[in-house]
Symmetry: C2
Subunit: 96 residues, 2 copies
C-alpha cells in the first residue's frame, strides 16, 4: 500500500534540526521524498507499523506534527503532480 507521510518539525532549536534530519532519514528508508516534507512510502502493514513507531518516537509531539495518509493500492489514480521534481515511479522499470 502507498502511505503519504507529511510532517512539520519545529526547527527553531538545534534539537529540532536534529529531529528533522532523523525523521527525513527514516522516511527515506521506506520511500521517496516528493517534496520537502512529503514522502511517499510503498510499504506493507508490518513496515508501516515499524516506520510509524520510529517516527512517533522521534518527534516532539508538543512542537512537531506528523500526518499519515493511507492511499491504498490504487494510489496512482489519486495523485497528480504539477511543476518540478515529479516523483519516480517506485514500481516502474528501473532505468539502467
Amino acid at each position: 500500500m502507498m502511505v503519504l507521510i507529511t510532517y512539520d518539525v519545529n526547527t527553531t532549536s538545534e534539537a529540532g534540526k536534529r529531529r528533522l534530519r532523523l525523521v527525513a532519514k527514516q522516511c527515506r528508508n521506506f520511500g521517496q521524498r516528493v517534496q520537502n516534507s512529503v514522502f511517499e512510502c510503498l510499504v506493507d502493514a508490518a513496515q508501516m507499523k515499524q516506520l510509524k513507531h520510529r517516527l512517533v518516537g522521534l518527534i516532539d509531539p508538543e512542537r512537531d506534527s506528523l500526518r499519515f495518509y493511507y492511499l491504498g493500492n490504487e494510489w496512482r489514480n489519486r495523485v497528480e503532480h504539477v511543476g518540478t521534481k515529479a516523483s519516480i515511479d517506485l514500481e516502474g522499470p528501473l532505468i539502467a
Copy 2:
C-alpha cells in the same frame, strides 16, 4: 470529496515569496491548513477544477511543485495525525 494539496514553492526570490503567499491564500479559500504547506480541501469537482486552475496559474513550474491527492469521500479512515495542531473537522459541529 477531500483533496490533499501539498506544495513546495521556491522562496529564494521576492517573486517566490509572493507566489507562496498567493498559493496559501487560494488554498485557504477552499480548505484548511493542516501543516505548513499541506492543505485539506473539501470540494466538489467544479471547485476543484477552479482551485487547480488558479494554483497552476500561480506557481512557476520550473521552480515550484504542486501535488494533489484525491482522498475521496471516505477520507477520514485514511488520515492519521500525531503531534501538534490536529486539523479541525470541516464537517463536524461548529463549536460556538
